[in-house]
Symmetry: C4
Subunit: 274 residues, 4 copies
């Protein structure tokens, strides 16, 4: 891989730095990006604290613009270095990157649109992507593998939980009614979810004897059926782990990942992997 690097154009070189993490520069870029994202989220948090914002408004604003410029450069490079820019622009991460960059520019035109900087928190999701590149993610891979292979069962379980919550929420609405806080069916369903998942905020609580009886049944149900997802994942985890080695490259043409170590062509679009 190191040999072939020399012949490539700057675009291909940039692509490897930004989208992959096999080279030294790639790893360095990822670490810088990681720090920038964490700093940007920290900034948004501090701005949201009124007492802090009052004291350091100017410093925070300067910080915002530095982050915005950095993100703008990164976004431009990402668009430029890829073969099919629109594939990136309309991908989930592309949209998130765009939304994280635009609010400060918008705030120059529309006052108040600065509040949208909080959307930047979504960039934290990229942390998972970056970390995926690191080597110590064997643990994470096994976790994901176990989750993926049990996802069908968990989906059935969640679907079951939802239906139960709709039915029980509706029944509670009929029993308790608006005078006890169950003002409408969607709110009652919200309460049923709060109760079944054993969260129990207590902002809405049944007052009638019958309501409390059914609430008890919901709680015991919730307390018992938590055994189901747990049992599913436990069973999956005790199975043998799969041992397919994938690397951190992403195809320059179609962005697909999880290429088998030493792959030369993309398994999806057939482009040469560099």
């Amino acid at each position: 891989m190191i040999d072939s690097v020399k012949k490539r154009s700057w675009k291909e070189h940039l692509h490897e730095i930004i989208y992959e993490a096999d080279t030294k520069e790639g790893k360095f870029f990822d670490i810088v990006l990681l720090i920038a994202i964490l700093a940007s989220v920290m900034l948004v948090m501090l701005e949201s604290i009124d007492s802090f914002d009052l004291k350091f408004h100017t410093s925070l604003n300067i910080g915002e613009w530095i982050i915005t410029i950095l993100f703008t450069i990164e976004y431009t490079l990402r668009v430029v270095s890829i073969k099919k820019p629109f594939k990136y622009i309309f991908s989930f991460y592309g949209v998130v990157d765009f939304l994280s960059t635009i609010p400060m520019y918008l705030s120059l035109i529309f006052i108040g649109s600065q509040g949208l900087v909080a959307l930047r928190a979504l960039r934290l999701l990229r942390v998972f992507r970056i970390l995926k590149l690191a080597r110590y993610i064997g643990a994470s891979n096994k976790l994901l593998f176990a989750l993926r292979s049990s996802s069908a069962k968990i989906a059935v379980f969640l679907f079951f939980v939802l239906i139960i919550c709709i039915i029980l929420g509706t029944i509670m609405y009929m029993i308790e009614g608006a005078e006890n806080g169950f003002t409408n069916i969607p709110k009652s369903i919200y309460w049923a979810i709060v109760t079944l998942t054993t969260v129990g905020f207590g902002d809405i609580a049944p007052q009638t004897a019958l309501g409390q009886l059914i609430a008890s049944a919901i709680m015991i149900l919730g307390y018992s059926i938590i055994a189901i997802p747990t049992g599913i994942v436990s069973a999956e985890m005790t199975k043998k782990d799969s041992d397919i080695d994938t690397n951190t490259q992403s195809c320059p043409a179609c962005l697909k990942e999880k290429h088998i170590e030493k792959a030369v062509f993309c398994y999806h679009c057939g482009s040469t992997l560099n």
Copy 2:
């Protein structure tokens, strides 16, 4: 199976469409029914939101009548197409179907009985029935199998939880008394269930030192014994899955299901399966 269809009467044909899902028409019927049920539940939800009901009262009312007429037709067809109608009428689903259909007619005679339309949420249970017919329910079957084979142990566990809650609730009533919100024993038992299941609404909370000590014990107990149902289901899940293939037919005479693929006679009443 397809050959034998030709010779059957329209009743038998209708039975296959409504009660089974092996044929094209059967699947289509199920999907239409699924949509109708979901729409009817959506309608009930929207009606329960006061602000929404005020604006769109007439539209919602028209929607209600459309659903009611559809359900009436379905109910009639179900009764007509089965060999022993009373078996269906007095079955759980038969009663639910009836209760979902009747409220709008009742509202013509008794004002206010319209509130019963919420009972229609129970029809959501039929969703499980309909989905059972689909092919991708291998996951769901395995889940159910694991649950069924561990149901005896879970019943013992739930019984234990209930007894513990009654005892602890009574003790808390003696310690805290009516002045701290534990107004009577049933309410104290309700509180014990809220606490043991780790829901913790907070509408009732112990105030005395001794009460808080016992509450702590209940919480730690509840936190620990959740391991029991989880352990049961986990153990069951790690066992091998059973591999008996059943189809989606239901007997036209006795409604029994879970006939082995290719069965010709009902295992329960001996009627010919068509």
Copy 3:
């Protein structure tokens, strides 16, 4: 066993009826006792509801006396039919039986002592004893076996949880202080238990930023370590079940139970088992 019954005295016969469940009379006695206990608990519950007590005070009082007389007879028979009465009288169940019987007699002398009837709820524990006698408790036995063999690990876990709660409770007391509801260290420890076990009443909640940070850590800790008892029990459950057959006899001399089927002498005191 049936042969040897004939030669025994009425005391031995009574012992078999009351303390065992192998004979027809023994089973009948157990069922009657079960109903009496459930009725007595029901009565206590109804009395605690003020509105109900006002209406039916006399009927409830009569019911109380009937239960008291029945329990008095049972208690006397238990004392009479056993070889070493003091062993029973000072056993846990002996004390509970006594406390369940005495309050009504006391209420004749000391007004107000009637409140102690609630202690009768403890008799519900005997339900487990009675049910143990039934045959269908294979499930329950396996559960108990798994719990017993993992009890050492669970004890270590609970001890760990308790120490953590004491430390964290003390720290929270120092951070939040009396002005935020953490009035003293025991109360702070109570709060830590409420939080770690994910119950979360919300009657006390941290107000300072540092307090909320530590609270977050406690919650995530509690959310994660619940995996430990669950893992322990799951591991125990997946092991093979033991298959030692014990019967329901209890030694007439020393009350020990769990004699191996067909045992002739008590494994503990050497008395003949009848």
Copy 4:
């Protein structure tokens, strides 16, 4: 080992008593220390209860000084009996021991510094160390082993939970805003943690329909992903236990522990183990 004891100096003898538990005196020292720690924590608790402190202020103060003097002696002996004192002084336990001893002396100079005695609760951590020496800790060792080998996976899981909470907390801040109790992003993240871990204090609860919808999603997510740490630990527990025997000695030179039974030299620094 018993033979070599005779030739050692009093320092080495003291080291064995204080830092190890293989000899009779060592075990006795540990038990006395355990009682002293528990007594000191008890004392701090009682002082924190205002009503109690008012009544018994003098007795509590005398108790404090007795504990302080005992801890001072212990601390001095620990420093004296070890070959490299600074290694102990700046170790975690060394700092905790120092902080537990100093507050009463400080209170002579600075009024109010007495409040720091609560730091003494941290000494409870030493309880784990002392108990480790006892023989019945097979259970605890297995627990720790299972936890350690699954710590990488659990760390990934916790990291994932944290990122999710930051993102969801930020989104909830944008939706609900300060008027519904979500006054700033850190507080919203705190709320997200409270909700995801199913604690649910209820001091902050979403009021808007959209907020409640997202809250429902967070709750169901939290309710489902608890299966992950549970599955990890369950899988680890079902694996075979390791069987390496370590003893309770700690190296007099470098404090390292977990020497293999019958080791003569420290595996870390090569000093002779006595």
